[in-house]
Amino acid sequence: MSYFLNRTLSILLTLLLISMITFAVTNILPGDVAMMIMGTQSNPEALAGLRQSLGLNDPIYIQYAHWIGGMLTGNWGNSLIFKVPIATLLLQKATASAIIVVMSMTIALALAVPLGVWSAVHRDKWQDTVSSSAALFGVSLPDFFWGIMLILLFARTLGWFPSSGFSDPGEDFSQSIYHAFLPALALGLGLMAHLTRMTRSTMVGILGQEFIRVSRAKGLSERTVVWRYALSNAIGPVATIAGLQIGYLFGSIIVVETLFSYTGMGWLTYQALLNRDVPLIQASVFVIAAVVMLTNFLVDLFYLLVDPRVRLG
């Protein structure tokens, strides 16, 4: 029980730190929010008045206190470019991103785990060379390059999938999956390459251990040894690595969603950054970092459940 209490406190502390870093980073260069709202041609007195009312003349820690107070009480303010409440906007866009994040993770795991295991079993043989080289090539390509290739092949040449746009899953679920497919695949392929490399190296380590030799000596079939004994020991580490890749994925969605004009969190964050919509930047950067942190916590919890050797300490 004390473990969960500790973890909860630790999460709260980390959230506080995340909010501080977010605020610090977005205040490096004091971009004038008042000027953004009123435009560059506005009357200097009105500008000064707005600055005063927005609290922009206050010391930085007071401004932070205002901001974090607003975040805690659910008053996230309005976006300067979209002119709507930020909380509503984020919630709506987060659903769109959740679809492609889940889809790409599924695609990546479904392909990477078998490929990594296959590669490890045939270590240093041609099968390993082929799959390891493909994975190495995969991690060397930028995500947007995957995206452009997919658009060229599946949208422009074959015409199977749309090259851009988003469809609301609440209205038509199959349409929304259809629109999410190419962006999810673009994210999933890069991710798959990373995970294949990780699965392979984890499995190579496990296959060299004593209990595998004993299982083989007992006369168990190779299939049981590899897919049941070895793989069940690899699930924990692989899941941990997959969880850590969530951070990488949330970086990549900015590029991929923008490329596919898929209006999710990544696209929204990019619009905010491009237009220096500071309140929206702060909120979305904070939310993304918080989601990444919480995902990693859940993965730790999962590791605990699947691997009894990890004791609560």
Partner: protein, 274 residues
């Protein structure tokens, strides 16, 4: 097997060849190719495919893609290298102090670093770049800061390992002070891991620069970088796919070379990770 021999695997050789080629292009390119070759417009050959006059084709303004890729190499590599150096300059002392001091100092510093790790590197770099105003120097700062927590974490872990070694104990018993200890005994022994990590970071930095420039928050025109070239190609994918392919392949080959080199370097320098 000697270290050199272990390096001469197929992977190591391909890695060295790719890196050598890219470095040669980046260093010699600007010497051999006049700078205006990348901006000279051939209006009769806009969006032309590979021809004898333009072996890699041309872009929407009729600029030769071969020359643009050659001259963009230096920008992309310089930014990546400077960003990785920035991350080492900040991350190395941070990790060393954390791992050497242990206790409360370590707790506080690593809590901060772990929190930084919750921010996706690309998001952090994009935000810093957007806030500072995108240009070449700020791109370097943005990527450098975004990569710092990864480096600090690795340095700290290695320092923690080395600090417990008998030779550190022996040095301490003979009266070595903290500064000498870090510089003479700890740093040299974690150098291999830092070099491996720097190589891998370099690959990621090239990708990050391309990503930032692609989104318009990195290198700015009229400078030419590979990411910017891919960004410019987006509107012409239908008619001229090579405008995306040429810089894309340049990025891929460079990063591939660095990854192969890094993999083999790790096998040679850090046999535990095999």
């Amino acid at each position: 097997m000697s270290a050199v021999k272990r390096f001469l695997t197929t992977k190591g050789l391909i890695g060295i060849a790719l890196l050598g080629l890219v470095l040669l292009v980046a260093i010699l390119g600007p010497w051999l190719v006049p700078a205006d070759f990348a901006t000279r417009m051939d209006m009769r050959a806009r969006l032309s495919g590979p021809t004898f006059a333009h072996p890699f084709g041309t872009d929407q303004l009729g600029r030769d893609l071969f020359f643009r890729v050659v001259l963009g190499a230096q920008t992309s590599l310089t930014i990546a290298l400077a960003a990785v150096i920035t991350s080492i300059v900040i991350g190395l002392p941070l990790g060393l102090i954390s791992g050497y001091a242990r206790g409360h100092v370590d707790n506080v510093l690593m809590r901060l670093v772990d929190t930084m790790l919750a921010f996706p590197a690309l998001l952090l770099a994009l935000t810093i770049s957007a806030m500072l105003g995108p240009n070449l120097q700020n791109t370097i700062i943005a990527i450098g800061i975004a990569f710092t927590p990864f480096l600090a974490r690795i340095v700290r872990g290695e320092a923690l390992r080395v600090v417990q070694m008998p030779y550190v104990e022996a040095a301490r018993a003979s009266g070595t002070n903290d500064v000498q200890m870090i510089i003479r005994h700890i740093l040299p022994n974690i150098m291999p891991q830092i070099i491996v990590q720097a190589t891998i970071s370099l690959a990621f930095a090239i990708l990050a620069e391309a990503g930032l420039s692609f989104l318009g928050l990195g290198t700015q025109p009229p400078q030419s970088s590979w990411g910017l070239m891919i960004q410019a190609s987006r509107d012409y994918l239908d008619v001229a796919p090579w405008t995306a392919l040429v810089p894309g392949i340049a990025v891929a080959l460079t990063v591939l070379g660095l990854n192969m080199f890094g993999d083999v370097l790790r096998d040679v320098l850090d046999p535990r990770a095999r």
